[in-house]
């Protein structure tokens, strides 16, 4: 990755009015839902203590709902709070959720995997201009220099199948697709070079498993990688176990991951995890013309048998 060669623009991608109007629309709907008792809580964001930050919240009263915001700092994938891994949230009853395109793709996946029923959740979709990247300078507005890499080539800015859409999308300039470029660079490597690339990255992994904890699809009650009878994956941060963990993670997300890149954002070692996710997604697109998370699917390509499946790989 060549970080010095390119100059990034610092002009704001969306004006202040856009963020305000989205925030207002969310608040208005959240207050209405809570006042009417239609939901037990609204999963959304409130401003963080420091400027330029935000954090997830479950607003349970109309007063709390008045604090809800939407800003470029609203990076978290809130779908996480609806998985079984967060039972205390679900136990409150029917919930509303503020969902960006990324969150929606995860929600569609959860619906398809029997983790959620559509009637149990009220979705406030956001016409999303994008959010900050992991190391963005948050004193700047959302701009070419600060926007997350995944947002540069987002295809799900306009939400679909939601109960409400908050805000209208401003006109956005086309941004250079850095992830796609990186993926192309990776694909151009020889297998040996690619192996060396990942080996280097995986060797730095400290197995904090933040990538697992943040992932809306890692909802297993006991992760395969925590089991010890038999132990499939070595638990200490050593190269063999690290590689096994990342391969298991990539395989388990193939055909499911919606590309929210939360794993990459939370990784303290800056391992380009979303690159691996994107590669798997690209394979599925090319092999089966399948994109995860666009609609809730009963069966994905990896769990379905069709009579006309490609069998050319059987020699």
């Amino acid at each position: 990755m060549n970080k010095t060669a390119r100059k990034y623009e610092s002009a704001a991608l969306a004006d202040e009015g856009y963020w305000t109007s989205v925030s207002q629309a969310i608040r208005q709907e959240a207050v209405r839902l809570l006042e009417q008792g239609a939901v037990a809580g609204v999963v959304g964001y409130i401003a963080g203590r420091r400027t330029g930050t935000a954090m997830p919240v479950v607003a349970a009263t109309p007063d709390q709902a008045k604090e809800l915001i939407f800003s470029p700092a609203c990076v978290n994938n809130l779908a996480l709070y609806l998985t079984k891994a967060k039972k205390e949230v679900r136990a409150k009853g029917k919930l509303a959720i503020v969902a960006k395109g990324c969150d929606l793709r995860a929600l569609a996946g959860l619906l398809g995997e029997s983790q959620l029923k559509r009637e149990d959740v009220y979705i406030i979709g956001i016409a999303c201009a994008g959010v900050y990247g992991a190391h963005a300078d948050r004193s700047q507005p959302l701009c070419d220099a600060t926007i997350a890499r995944k947002c540069r080539e987002c295809t799900v800015r306009e939400p679909t199948d939601t109960d409400l859409v908050a805000g209208t999308l401003p006109a956005l300039p086309a941004l250079e697709p850095l992830e796609a470029q990186e993926l192309a660079r990776l694909e151009a490597m020889t297998p040996q070079e690619r192996w060396a690339f990942w080996k280097e990255h995986f060797s730095r992994c400290i197995r904090c498993l933040a990538c697992r904890q943040i992932c809306p699809f890692c909802f297993c009650e006991q992760c395969l990688c925590d089991r010890n009878r038999p132990q499939s994956v070595e638990t200490t941060p050593r190269p063999a176990g690290n590689t096994a963990w990342h391969i298991v993670r990539a395989m388990h997300l193939a055909g499911r991951c919606g590309g929210c890149a939360e794993c990459e954002r939370v990784c303290p070692m800056d391992i380009p995890l979303n690159l691996l996710n994107r590669k798997m997604a690209k394979e599925l697109k090319e092999l089966y013309d399948y994109e995860a998370g666009l609609t809730p699917q009963e069966k994905g390509p990896l769990t379905e048998y069709k009579e006309d499946d490609d069998e050319s790989f059987i020699k």
Binding site: Q115, F219, Q222, P230, S232, G300, T303, Y305, E307
Partner: protein, 665 residues
């Protein structure tokens, strides 16, 4: 478990030729937990099994590894022996050192090393095996027969006569199949209709047989003893309960020029029709593609003339669900067509024979219809082109069959005999005519068969020319046959009035699709595969499904009937029991860790996975998990491979066992 016995088999010389069995036994004895080892020439024999039983008693063995052949061959044998010796049969496993080792390797040292590895892995697996108890499932004593030709009819009658219910499904509007189309049958020349139609009537009158004609198999689910079959009954447009079979509708139908496929398109039929006068059931169907009412919405003559008001244009396809315990597949054959084949097909047509465009070049079944008293010509043999009586007829054998260059290497088995029969039928009807036969070999293995063939030459004066035909072409009103006579080494040219091709027997179109619905295997030509070529010729590898007739391979009528009765006997054997024991190798869900993503349900090919709600004592839902119905589970392990959290495992093949096997290497 720590007292394991390892029994190494020589399999005559099959294993000991390439594997040092004594060394395998000695090495196995050094493994932790192995209490006894030995080797023996034939472990599966009576003394071999006694050896095993004696060792269990003497050495207090708690687990058994038999290093011999494939478990598909003798697992049951040794598990029974283990059971007899007082060991839970599922603590006995086979280490396959024959198919997986001695048969596929040549180097003795390497093969021996591999055999030791295989045995070591199995010892590790047996250490972790659990005592399992067989699962019993009820048997639905009702059989499904697919195909209403002579094979299906014979099976249906045999099973029904034994007192069990039978459902017979036939694709065409009438049962009877190919045999109903034949004129006479070899080697006795008795009339096919005379011996076939009474059986057809028996079927329709039998109290134990439910007949679905003009119907196809939509879907099959379940397993031996408990199949659930969806049958699509195509819209007949005639109410079977009301129709009396008077035939007025057929007589009055203004559409009369539709080629009759039963007569190989030699004659015509109306749009509302029965395929042939002796059809069973004698209820017409409306051919919606050719019916004026269905094409234009006008006409309605049949409805007007029908006395009982049986004609119903609004009838729709109906899905009938049948619960059955066994399935007999008897879908029969079709004849190879010499026309051009689609690109990419492994089988080629015959351009040198005009791709079927010469009108006086016909196939054997067309000749049968010409010779049949109930055929379009009333049994008079004439040429399709001008209706003249052919004075010279050339029969060509092995068209398509035994022609590797054309894509089919097998012998169609029946052509030699029916061609001999054709020459006789021809001579009996055209006394001054001359029959010529081009043949490669005459294959007549059967009771009275060779005598029959000799008779066609010696008494009926057919001229047999050993050699192939290279080209057929039209010259004036004759068809020129260019061939060779390899006995005298000359090229032969015959100007014939009619040419009859003995075209290859092929499985029915769509045989592969049906096999996929049933979950049975088929060969590259789409003939269905029997479980064992010699010892289990009428059973499929899929339990509870049996084969009868030409769908399994080319067969004549006597063989077909024998196989059909054999399949019926197998079904009766199954139905003699009220319950079946099933192997308890089934998947179990760890409900503690299952999060109910139900990926297992998506991939399960048996439909064995259900949702299960776990509730606390006051009835509050705690969570939803997957549940595997042990009666339905086929033990394939796909769920285990799919489950992201490894919360479902197959007994006998747990991850722990597989890992232990790998680590033992």
């Amino acid at each position: 478990m720590s007292r394991i016995g390892v029994f190494v088999c020589h399999c005559g010389e099959n294993i000991s030729r390439t594997v040092d069995v004594e060394k395998v036994a000695a090495e196995a004895g050094r493994l932790f937990g192995v209490a006894y080892t030995c080797d023996y020439k034939y472990m599966c024999s009576d003394p071999g099994q006694n050896l095993l039983k004696k060792a269990v008693a003497e050495h207090k063995l708690e687990g058994i590894v038999v290093a011999a052949c494939s478990p598909r061959m003798h697992e049951k044998t040794f598990r029974n022996a283990a059971k007899a010796a007082g060991v839970n049969p599922f603590l006995c496993e086979m280490a396959n050192i024959r198919e997986h080792c001695s048969w596929v390797h040549e180097d003795r040292d390497e093969a021996t090393a591999k055999a030791i590895d295989i045995v070591t892995m199995m010892v590790e697996r047996v250490k972790r095996n659990k005592k399992l108890q067989p699962i019993t499932v009820p048997v639905t004593k009702k059989a499904l027969i697919i195909g209403g030709g002579i094979a299906g009819i014979q099976s249906a009658l045999d099973i029904a006569d034994s007192g069990h219910q039978v459902v017979l499904v036939e694709r065409e509007p009438s049962i009877g199949g190919h045999m109903a189309q034949l004129s006479e049958t070899f080697p006795t020349l008795d009339c096919s209709q005379c011996i076939m139609t009474p059986k057809m009537v028996d079927v329709v009158n039998h109290p134990n047989i439910t007949l679905h004609t003009y119907a196809e198999i939509e879907a099959v689910e379940g397993y031996i003893g408990n199949f659930q079959v969806k049958v699509r009954k195509k819209a007949r447009s005639v109410d079977m309960a009301k129709c009396t079979g008077c035939g007025v509708c057929m007589a009055k139908c203004p559409q009369k020029k539709i080629p009759n496929s039963f007569d190989k398109n030699l004659g015509f039929r109306p749009a509302i029709y029965v395929p042939f006068p002796q059809a069973v059931p004698n209820t017409p169907v409306i051919d919606r593609e050719n019916c004026t009412w269905f094409k234009t919405g006008k006409c309605g003559v049949c409805q007007k003339v029908c006395g009982p008001g049986a004609v119903d244009y609004t009838q729709e396809d109906e899905i009938v669900v049948e619960q059955v315990g066994a399935v007999v597949v008897a879908t029969g054959f079709q004849l190879y067509d010499i026309g051009p084949k689609p690109a990419g097909s492994a089988i080629e047509g015959y351009g040198e024979f005009g791709y079927g465009t010469i009108p006086d070049v016909i196939d054997g079944l067309t000749f049968e219809r010409l010779a049949s008293a109930s055929g379009p010509t009333g049994g008079k043999i004439v040429r399709p082109s001008d209706g003249a009586e052919p004075k010279s007829v050339v029969f060509v054998q092995c068209v398509g069959s035994r022609a590797r260059e054309k894509g089919i290497s097998y012998c169609s088995k029946i052509c030699c005999m029916y061609t001999a029969k054709h020459t006789m039928l021809y001579k009996h009807k055209v006394h001054d005519g001359q029959a010529y036969v081009f043949f490669m070999d005459a294959r007549t293995p059967g009771k009275g068969y060779d005598e029959f063939w000799r008779r066609s030459i010696e008494e009926e004066e057919a001229v047999y020319i050993r050699g192939m035909v290279s080209r057929l072409y039209q010259k004036g009103d004759k068809v020129v046959v260019m061939g060779s006579d390899v006995h005298i080494g000359v090229q032969v040219e015959i100007e014939a009035d009619l040419v009859v091709l003995a075209t290859a027997v092929q499985p029915r179109e769509g045989a592969d699709t049906l096999a996929q619905k049933l979950g049975i295997s088929y060969d590259k030509y789409h003939f269905y595969s029997e479980a064992h070529a010699k010892l289990r010729p009428v059973e499929c590898a899929t339990a509870g499904i049996y084969l009868a007739g030409a769908c399994q391979g080319p067969k004549d009528i006597p063989d077909t009937v024998s196989q059909a009765s054999a399949a019926a006997a197998k079904v009766m054997t199954l139905f003699a029991r009220n319950e079946l024991e099933r192997e308890p190798i089934v998947a179990k869900v760890n409900e503690r860790f299952c999060v109910g993503c139900l990926a297992c349900r998506k991939v399960c090919p048996y439909g064995a996975v259900e949702e299960k709600e776990i509730r606390d004592r006051s009835g509050n839902l705690i969570k939803v998990v997957a549940y595997v119905n042990p009666g339905v589970c086929g033990g394939c392990g796909t769920c285990q491979a799919t489950c992201p959290s490894k919360s479902v495992e197959l007994d006998g093949y747990t991850d722990e066992q597989i890992m232990a096997m790998i680590e033992a290497l």
